[in-house]
């Protein structure tokens, strides 16, 4: 038994024992009901007790008066009940999420015709049932009241009863398009990456009608560097398929592949497979991350090296040199981590992967060269099955803006793109748009771009529309509507394009016909029905013939038969051809170390680009950032050392000057452990002005800071200086809200220790008894055991697999009607999430000193060292469903009780709000309803409960809690009950995996396993009792509360 003496801390304030932190650490609830006693000297505007009682009396009287009318409830059945719809029973449809090139194969749960929840589609070989926070939250965007109801002509909505009434408007647009065509100027369709081959076909049709048309695709999260590098070295402008699952050693230079880089859901699935350990698999991958700001991927790395953005190319070159494939004469820094990485890579030739998030094609060329030398092509990199998730071209959009400025563009159509907001030259574009005579937008709201155009013809939300997608070559899936269009005045963008091209076919027929022309083998109807049912095409890809006019697919020659086996091909790949001297020259020219503070821009894992509907999604804004745990804001993240030197405290507002130019951006500072010294970082996607109620004026827009360099976008914005403005803006962080006071919550070990002893890192407390000596906590109890003969629901959470992405948090919010409280209440420490992901920092450099020591000179130094490059551990924390629950025994009204299936039940109607249970909960997972969050204008950002449209997303099987009651994770009891009933009706026991909680089902890495402990065949039993028995631990085991959730120790390959 080894005690774990390592100290874990959740934020700088905890490490330094900040007085503010200490105050809150002992008070879970920030303040009590603001009522003062009469005559108390406290000068406050709180009402005195007697006023309170008077008000109370009045409200009782008012309520009694209001209740005089006898209520009559109506029940209104269908006139014609649809065959498949039964009130109270959910229908599931397979579909596809696609927005700006992001792809996820999904299942949509609908109740009485309303989509209410999104889950991953396990049949998909690409996303394999995983989801992301953004995918989970997209269902709320469907019910966004900011969406346009009708077409807009010159700023005015044209109200119609049916879409057919837009015919005169269409004629007007057709005339104008024809005029633009005749004028000799070009017509542009500007979109983000389009995954749908049929949509592209429709665009081709439009092009055929108006030959002056050019389709400009760009990516807000640009991958220009990789595309360009592959164009140079492979002769194909593609993103290859990466297989992180086959890599024993992963080296990433700033590529946040678990969070925002290309296809994070897919990579997270693959990556987690290499991180899982069991009695039968005692090895795991080794992951190096070399980056400047602490990204989600960096948090999960075994070894992380903070560098300055201007050193990135040099470090890649250093790795190349260290690998010994040849000497590049670059000023390569010689770092221990690079040497170690090189050694590991050489040991894992053909089983390793080097990636870079850089947008510099020369860095990417060198990365290609490294992978090629390591023999990774055809093993972990598949060029024959390219990913289509990034097809955009930085050059194309820049050229469009230039052409627009010089008046060469006659007409422009914006399709799912908001470049006025999300392009660094957005302001220039806004001005240039005035020179274009016909401007059309398909965006769903009057956003920054739509406000500048003549016609807005709002597209349907993806949950209302038909579409297809080809995220990777040869992998096809379908999007099908799960609700009839909410607004009768919206039309699929493709249909608009077809109408304007003179094709009257509706888009569904068009899509089906396109598929019919491609699927030649077998019975089409059968194939179509199956594809629709599964959400994706699972037949042999040879049946799919290349569409005429679908140029991208055509370029990739014939599709092989084996593509459907998995999303990855091995063997027989081409290898890149890299001109090293050119790379060397360019790297030497571009990467010069400087002494200034460099600003790097990044995307938030939750919000992403924030440029379309997600920018107005309150679930995403309230989702704490996985690393900083900040909500509702962007901020300048700086390291502790710089903060000390510059005498800046967290929350100080600073004005940014980049490369000597005043940017006009003033943001608060956040002290971020792990941020490379002399760097600062700022998130993109904030500061929307026309997103809607929830997204407007949240944070500051950093898009104008993106550097345009050599025809590509560079997130390394250059040298930044900043000065305090004197203002202060508190950042609404959640991390230290529910702290755990330095107890062994996280139990971890290194891989070497684990291989020697599977129980390495475990803290096994013993309790001293007078009569019997040392006893395990579970052996002494004053409780009678509850009998659990039927089920015993439990959960296993693998700290090794959890990457901290936050998909579970949003999934839970969506499933359980969890309210959004807004920035102010998060600051008041009153967030309502039932599951939170605790992020712990730890560092070997720490001392065991606390408090005042950190105010001394050496203490400050220690703090800086500790915060320089900490190790990060994520731990999802939710109600542990204790079998000896401390909350249950203190409830004066028995509102929280234990079930015979091991559930800790919360009965809202019994709860009188004493909050004793929350005070007694060792895990701090209970949430109190301080306010009425529904039908309350004060909480208008809680859109799912405060407007007629938003309310449609609520899960009808879960009570919307009212003010003054406690709530917490229920283990999705509604799902358990539903699953049990299904089993009973089919006269069988529930099958393992049939009943899962929302969090477990959303997890892209399968870190959460839910199941029945009484079922010895269950994965849960196998995990906690057979495969990972030694690693399984209950948090705070010494309390003997016997939780039903066990965690698996975090093992690091360091």
């Amino acid at each position: 038994m080894k005690d774990n003496n390592k100290k874990y801390w959740k934020g700088i304030e905890e490490l330094s024992n900040d007085p503010e932190f200490l105050k809150h650490a002992h008070n879970e609830f920030p303040e009590f009901l603001s009522v003062k006693e009469k005559g108390s000297s406290e000068a406050s505007d709180a009402p005195d007790r007697r006023d309170f009682l008077k008000l109370l009396g009045f409200s009782v009287a008012a309520v009694s008066l209001a209740a005089c009318e006898a209520p009559v409830k109506k029940v209104i059945p269908y006139v014609n009940k649809p065959v498949d719809v039964d009130p109270g029973i959910a229908n599931w449809y397979a579909s596809t999420y696609q927005e700006g090139g992001e792809y996820c194969s999904i299942l949509v749960k609908t109740r009485e015709g309303r989509p209410i929840k999104i889950e991953g589609n396990k049949l998909s070989p690409i996303t394999m049932g995983g989801t992301s926070a953004r995918v989970q939250a997209s269902v709320l965007s469907l019910y966004d009241t900011e969406r346009l109801e009708f077409f807009v002509e010159n700023g005015k909505q044209i109200k119609v009863k049916s879409i057919a009434e837009y015919a005169p408007l269409d004629r007007k647009i057709i005339d104008k398009l024809a005029a633009a065509q005749a004028s000799g100027k070009s017509i542009r369709i500007v979109s983000q990456t389009i995954l749908s081959p049929t949509t592209k076909k429709a665009i081709e049709e439009f092009k055929a009608k108006y030959p002056a048309t050019e389709h400009v695709m760009y990516d807000v999260l640009s991958a220009e560097g990789i595309l360009k590098a592959n164009e140079i070295s492979l002769g194909q402008r593609i993103i290859p398929s990466y297989n992180f699952g086959a890599a024993d050693v992963i080296v990433s230079f700033g590529a946040d592949f678990l969070g925002t880089w290309i296809s994070p859901i897919e990579y997270a699935k693959q990556y987690s497979k290499t991180r899982k350990l069991s009695a039968h698999k005692k090895t795991m991958s080794k992951h190096y991350q070399i980056e400047s700001n602490l990204s989600l991927t960096g948090c999960n790395a075994d070894t992380r090296l903070p560098i300055k953005p201007s050193e990135e190319g040099l470090y890649v070159a250093a790795l190349y040199n260290a690998l010994g494939f040849g000497g590049l004469s670059t000023k390569a820094p010689n770092h221990e981590v690079i040497k170690k990485a090189a050694t590991d890579l050489l040991k894992a030739k053909g089983k390793s992967l080097v990636v870079s998030g850089s947008n510099d094609p020369y860095v990417q060329l060198l990365v290609n060269k490294i992978n090629s030398e390591l023999g990774n092509y055809g093993k972990t990199i598949d060029v024959s099955t390219p990913s289509f998730q990034k097809q955009g071209s930085d050059e194309a959009i820049l050229k469009f803006i230039e052409d627009a400025k010089s008046g060469q563009v006659g007409a422009v159509i914006f399709y799912g793109a908001n470049p006025v907001y999300d392009h660094p030259k957005g302001e220039e574009l806004k001005e240039a748009l005035k020179k274009i005579s016909l401007k059309i937008s398909f965006n769903d709201r009057m956003d920054e771009t739509s406000s500048e155009v003549d016609y807005v013809c709002p597209d349907l939300h993806f949950l209302e529309s038909w579409n297809d997608a080809e995220p990777k070559k040869g992998f096809f899936s379908l999007t099908q509507p799960t609700i009839t269009p909410i607004f009768k005045g919206n039309r699929a963008a493709q249909e608009s394009l077809l109408i304007w091209s003179g094709n009257k076919t509706d888009y569904y027929t068009y899509l089906e016909n396109n598929w019919k022309s491609r699927l030649t083998g077998g019975n089409f109807q059968e194939l179509w029905d199956k594809t629709l049912h599964d959400g994706l095409y699972s037949g042999k890809t040879s049946e799919l013939h290349v569409t005429p006019g679908h140029s991208e697919t055509e370029a990739y020659a014939a599709i092989s038969d084996t593509a459907s086996v998995g999303a990855f091909h091995t063997g027989g790949s081409s290898t890149p051809n890299v001109n090293l001297s050119e790379v060397e020259d360019n790297i030497n020219r571009t990467y010069k170390t400087n002494s200034g503070i460099e600003l790097s821009l990044y995307y938030k894992v939750g919000l992403g680009s924030g440029s379309l509907s997600a920018g107005n999604n309150p679930w995403l804004h309230e989702l704490p950032d996985p690393v900083s745990k900040a909500t509702w804001d962007n901020y300048l993240a700086i390291p502790k050392k710089m903060a000390n030197e510059m005498d800046i405290a967290q929350g100080d507002v600073v004005a940014l000057t980049v490369d000597g130019k005043n940017t006009g951006i003033e943001v608060p500072v956040l002290i971020q452990p792990g941020q490379a010294n002399n760097t600062a970082s700022l998130a993109l996607g904030y500061g929307r002005t026309k997103a809607g109620k929830c997204g407007n004026e949240v944070g500051k827009n950093a898009y104008p800071l993106i550097k345009v360099k050599g025809g590509r976008l560079d997130l390394n914005a250059g040298v930044v200086t900043f000065a305090k403005t004197g203002d202060e803006r508190k950042i609404a962080q959640t991390q230290t809200h529910h702290t755990v006071m330095a107890r062994p919550i996280i139990q971890d070990a290194s891989l070497a220790e684990y291989q020697k002893d599977a129980g390495a890192g475990r803290y096994k407390p013993m309790i001293h008894t007078n009569l019997y000596g040392e006893k395990k906590p579970t052996e002494i109890t004053t409780w009678y055991e509850h009998e659990k003969p039927n089920h015993l629901w439990g959960m296993s959470i693998d700290l090794n697999s959890c990457i901290g992405c936050g998909a579970c948090v949003v999934a839970c919010q969506s499933e359980n009607n969890v309210p959004v409280v807004g920035r102010k209440e998060v600051l008041n420490r009153r967030e309502m999430h039932w599951i939170r992901i605790d992020r712990y920092y730890s560092s070997d450099a720490e001392t065991d000193k606390t408090g005042e020591y950190f105010e001394s000179e050496s203490g400050v130094k220690d703090l800086e060292i500790a915060a320089e490059n900490p190790t990060v551990t994520f731990q999802p924390m939710l109600c542990q469903q204790c079998n000896h629950a401390p909350c249950e025994s203190v409830c004066p009204v028995a509102a929280t009780t234990h079930s015979s299936e091991g559930l800790n039940q919360m009965t809202y109607n019994r709860c009188i709000g004493t909050r004793y249970c929350a005070n007694n909960c060792p895990y701090k997972v209970r949430r109190f309803n301080w306010f009425k969050y529904f039908e309350n204008e004060e909480f208008d950002k809680n859109v799912s409960m405060n407007n007629f449209l938003g309310r449609m997303v609520l899960n009808p099987d879960v009570t919307v809690r009212s003010r003054g009651v406690m709530e917490k994770c229920s283990f999705c009891v509604q799902r358990i009950q539903e699953g049990k009933l299904k089993a009973k009706m089919e006269k069988r026991r529930p099958i393992d995996g049939e009943i899962v909680t929302a969090c477990a089902s959303a997890c892209p890495t399968d870190a959460i396993i839910f199941g029945d402990r009484n079922d010895t065949e269950s994965r849960l039993h196998k995990d906690n009792v057979v495969e990972n028995a030694e690693r399984s631990y209950a948090v705070l085991e010494e309390l003997n509360v016997q939780p039903n959730i066990l965690y698996l120790t975090k093992i690091r390959n360091s």
Binding site: P71, V75, P77, G88, N790, Y908, L981
Partner: protein
């Protein structure tokens, strides 16, 4: 044989037709409605009407096709002997190969007509007399009643009217009060002028100052206020009991006078036929109109309200307007109840909770629907685990302790119904 038969029959039919023409021709000129072929005996017509109401109306109407054919001019179509035979035992006539009967049988989807052996020949004749009498009357195509909420809308009007009266009364009372106060003060002032002449006790009264505080503190005032408050509170509690479902016996008037007694009782239509969700999920489902129309596309007249009631159903269906039924069983939202669990898994009969629905003309809430009632049943009822593999292990574990009650399988736990 059959040939002569047919000739005979057609001869008789022709004769009858001729006769009826002959009889009815002069009647066209008369003011009175035509009397039947069997003679216009009003007593007979009245008796026939009674019998028709009791026996035939469920399936037949004089002018319209319901389940069976419209009966107008039946006396002209068929000889009375045939009618009597058919009414006594229709299947026998059909089985005999009678072509008209067979054709009729096929035309109406092989629906067997119930036999009425208890009706005498005379009675049948009087029914025919009634049909002839009724057939002569013109069909009244009056305006059809609106589809929904007539009872409610009337009540609303009344409510508005009584509201005005209430306000008038209050205004009058207030005026009276003001006048009384004015009188009082005038009198007081008058008496004050003559203060010296007053007796001591009277003087005291005159000089008495009106003390608001004293009035408020007086027992009388407090008790009045108290009584008002208590009664309002009681009223509120009473109404709120509705929300928690304590409204046993609640039998609201429905927009369409649908009778379970007729459908479930007399016709023995299975509950499942209309309440389709009862074995599938949470809701039993109030039937959608297309289910009503399965039968009522044919049956257009009912025994109690004639065409009026059914017309509402048909109108609603045709105009695509759902019927707004008044909800009878109001389980509060915080309680989750699932029909399938109880009916399909538990094997509970509908009437256990809903009572003898098949005897209810208007559905009323049979059970209290309180938590105590739920829990009591869970305590008393054994789990229906027979032939259900889900319960096998549980029942085995429990076999020595007697039957496994729902309560012993977690049936009393909060999160079974509240989440």
């Amino acid at each position: 044989m059959s040939l002569t038969n047919t000739i005979n029959r057609s001869a008789i039919t022709l004769l009858l037709l001729f006769l009826s023409l002959f009889v009815s021709l002069p009647s066209n000129g008369e003011d009175k409605p035509a009397a039947g072929a069997a003679g216009a005996d009003p007593a007979k017509v009245a008796e026939g009407a009674k019998l028709f109401e009791a026996n035939c109306k469920a399936c037949h109407a004089v002018h319209d096709v319901v389940v069976g054919p419209a009966l107008k001019d039946v006396n002209k179509r068929r000889p009375i002997g045939w009618i009597v035979n058919f009414v006594h035992n229709s299947q026998k006539v059909i089985a005999s190969g009678d072509p008209y009967a067979v054709e009729l049988y096929n035309k109406f989807g092989k629906t067997e007509m119930k036999s009425f052996p208890e009706l005498s020949e005379d009675q049948i004749k009087s029914i025919v007399a009634y049909i002839v009498d009724e057939g002569g009357k013109k069909v009244d195509v009056g305006p059809k009643p609106p589809v929904d909420g007539q009872p409610q809308s009337e009540a609303k009007d009344e409510g508005g009217y009584s509201g005005i009266i209430l306000i008038l009364i209050i205004i009058v009372l207030v005026l009276v009060l003001v006048m009384l106060v004015v009188f009082l003060s005038v009198l007081k002032r008058y008496l004050k002028d003559k203060e010296e002449k007053l007796a001591e006790s009277d003087r005291e009264i005159v000089n008495q100052k009106f003390d608001v505080l004293k009035v408020i503190k007086s027992k009388g005032f407090l008790s009045i206020v108290g009584i008002i408050f208590v009664s309002l509170a009681l009223r509120a509690c009473w109404n709120n009991m509705f929300y928690v479902g304590v409204d046993q016996g609640y039998a609201p008037i429905q927009p369409i006078p649908f009778s379970h007694k007729l459908h479930a009782g007399q016709y023995k239509i299975d509950c499942n036929y209309c309440h389709t969700g009862v074995t599938k999920g949470k809701q039993a489902n109030i039937p959608s109109l297309n289910i009503c129309m399965n039968c009522h596309s044919q049956i257009k007249s009912g025994p109690r309200f004639g065409q009026d009631g059914i017309a509402k159903v048909i109108d609603a269906y045709n105009s695509n307007k759902p019927v707004k039924w008044v909800r009878v069983h109001n389980l509060p939202d915080l309680a989750y109840f699932n029909h399938a669990q109880h009916v399909k898994v538990g094997g509970i009969e509908c009437k256990t909770c809903h009572g003898q629905i098949d005897t209810m003309e208007v559905v009323r809430q049979h059970s209290p629907l309180t938590m105590g009632w739920c829990i009591n049943c869970h305590r008393e009822t054994a789990v229906n685990g027979k032939d259900n593999a889900y319960y096998d292990k549980l029942l085995e574990l429990h076999s020595k302790k007697g039957p496994l009650k729902v309560a012993e399988n977690g049936g009393l736990e909060c999160a079974k119904c509240h989440y």
